[in-house]
């Protein structure tokens, strides 16, 4: 499937992953433009229904960026996010959707390079998986 550009929605915690993405920008670290970021207060605010809605609405993958364990601005929102993603991936797998399409990553505000790397890796993985939407995916 050459020329396939996966479409990604990235829910980013404002305290860590979104700040990390800002740092990637400040440092001019280029990464693929496939993901549209949606900034949230905490990865713990992200609802499984949002993730599924993104998949239904045309996303090939969904990224949730939260704070490293122990660093959550709100103490434990990232742990809740982790458990929700764990169960959601289990459900997706049962439905026949590759669980790798939903990815939770810990990215701190100082990890601009890591954010760029996570984006590149995820895009590469989704390219390997191919489009979720049978028509070859949205452009």
């Amino acid at each position: 499937m050459s020329g396939f550009e996966p479409r990604i929605v990235a829910f980013l915690c404002r305290w860590c992953a979104s700040a990390g993405a800002d740092l990637a920008g400040t440092n001019r670290l280029a990464y693929p433009p496939n993901a549209i970021p949606i900034r949230v207060n905490c990865s713990g605010r992200v609802e499984p229904q949002w993730v599924v809605e993104a998949l239904k609405a045309g996303a090939d993958g969904v990224l949730i960026g939260g704070c490293h364990p122990g660093d959550c601005h709100y103490v434990a929102g990232n742990y809740k996010a982790r458990r929700r993603v764990y169960l959601l991936r289990k459900v997706l797998a049962e439905l026949g959707i590759e669980p790798e399409r939903v990815r939770l990553e810990w990215v701190s505000a100082t990890e601009g390079a890591r954010f760029a790397q996570v984006m590149s890796d995820f895009v590469a993985e989704l390219k390997r998986l191919g489009p979720l939407h049978g028509n070859g995916g949205p452009k």
């Binding site: 499984p48 239904k56 364990p69 742990y79 982790r82 458990r83 959601l88 959707i97 489009p131 939407h133």
Partner: protein, 316 residues
């Protein structure tokens, strides 16, 4: 009031449920003119076809739509009725039969590859059983539905309320004859901890008679399910399985409950060292689709399943 009651892919329980009204039936029946009800009085499709448009005041359909004939009958009833309602979880959400919405055709799974429905030997081809639909569907997927009497089967109290409202000509479009609040509102069990150190299936534990079942690790869908049944199952020691359907703002009840369950799981102090233990607890949710989507799969889980199937076709 001219009443029609019809069953599509149904176990028959919804038809029997009317009897739960008990002596109240004696007051109710004189007010009803039953124009079509195959479970009760002999009438054929032709009789229905003969009725004029709006020859039925209220039609209640129970059962999932599973065959082409189900679809035709639903369309016919829609045409003949002023009000058409989904009666019971199958017509409302797809119900238990919709859990059969698999990746492959159900007939192939059950009867083996190459199965084609055919008439019994010596019968005319038009007597062949109707074709199975590729997927089991809730009523609203095929025809506009005016109201819902939910439940598996609908509890007597809700049926009674429905008739009271219908006879008074006060049905609101889109009305769901159940509570707006979740079942917990009606549940007498007491909640304490709201932390899940384990997840068990109902047969794996003896439920404490007074404590919240969810607190005891049972996947009770009460918090995401409309009330209206007086918490009949939890009172009897069985976790709610969600037959009255999700509360108005819950969205996909399985995903909403999944989020709640995952949020409640705790293995000691929260933190990275607890991750493996948390995962072990989460693995206690055996059969997540069957548990969380028991009745609602056709309405909520199907779009994703469809996506997965299309994806499988592309890969093939």
């Amino acid at each position: 009031m001219k009443l029609a009651v019809y069953w599509t892919g149904s176990c028959g329980g919804c038809d029997v449920a009317f009897l739960e009204l008990g002596p109240a039936l004696l007051d109710l029946l004189p007010k009803l003119e039953i124009v079509f009800w195959p479970a009760l009085v002999d009438a054929k499709r032709a009789d229905l076809e003969k009725l004029p448009k709006h020859g039925i005041d209220v039609a209640l359909v129970n059962g999932v739509l599973r065959t082409t004939e189900n679809v035709e009958m639903a369309e016919l009833l829609r045409e003949k009725s002023r009000w058409l309602g989904a009666f019971g979880a199958c017509a409302h959400l797809g119900g238990v039969p919709a859990l059969a919405n698999p990746g492959e055709g159900i007939a192939e799974v059950v009867f083996g590859p190459g199965f084609r429905p055919a008439p019994p030997l010596g019968e005319a081809p038009e007597d062949a059983p109707p074709e199975l639909l590729p997927e089991a569907l809730p009523l609203e997927e095929v025809v506009p539905v005016d109201f819902v009497v939910p439940g598996c089967p609908p509890p007597a109290g809700l049926i009674a309320r429905f008739f009271a409202v219908a006879l008074a000509e006060e049905i609101q479009p889109g009305q769901v004859f159940a509570a707006e609040k979740a079942l917990c509102e009606e549940c007498p069990r007491t909640r304490e901890e709201r932390r899940l150190a384990r997840l068990v299936r109902p047969h794996e534990a003896l439920a404490d008679p007074t404590k919240c079942l969810l607190d005891q690790g049972m996947v009770c869908l009460g918090p995401v399910t409309r009330g209206g049944c007086a918490a009949a199952c939890p009172k009897a020691g069985m976790p709610c399985t969600g037959c009255l359907g999700p509360t108005p703002k819950a969205g996909d009840p399985a995903l909403a409950m999944l989020s709640a369950l995952a949020s409640l799981v705790r293995a000691g102090e929260e933190g990275e060292p607890a991750f493996p233990e948390e995962d072990r607890i989460l693995e206690g949710l055996v059969d997540p689709l069957g548990t969380l989507y028991k009745y609602a799969f056709a309405k909520y889980g199907r779009p994703l399943r469809r996506l997965a199937r299309r994806r499988q076709e592309v890969r093939a």
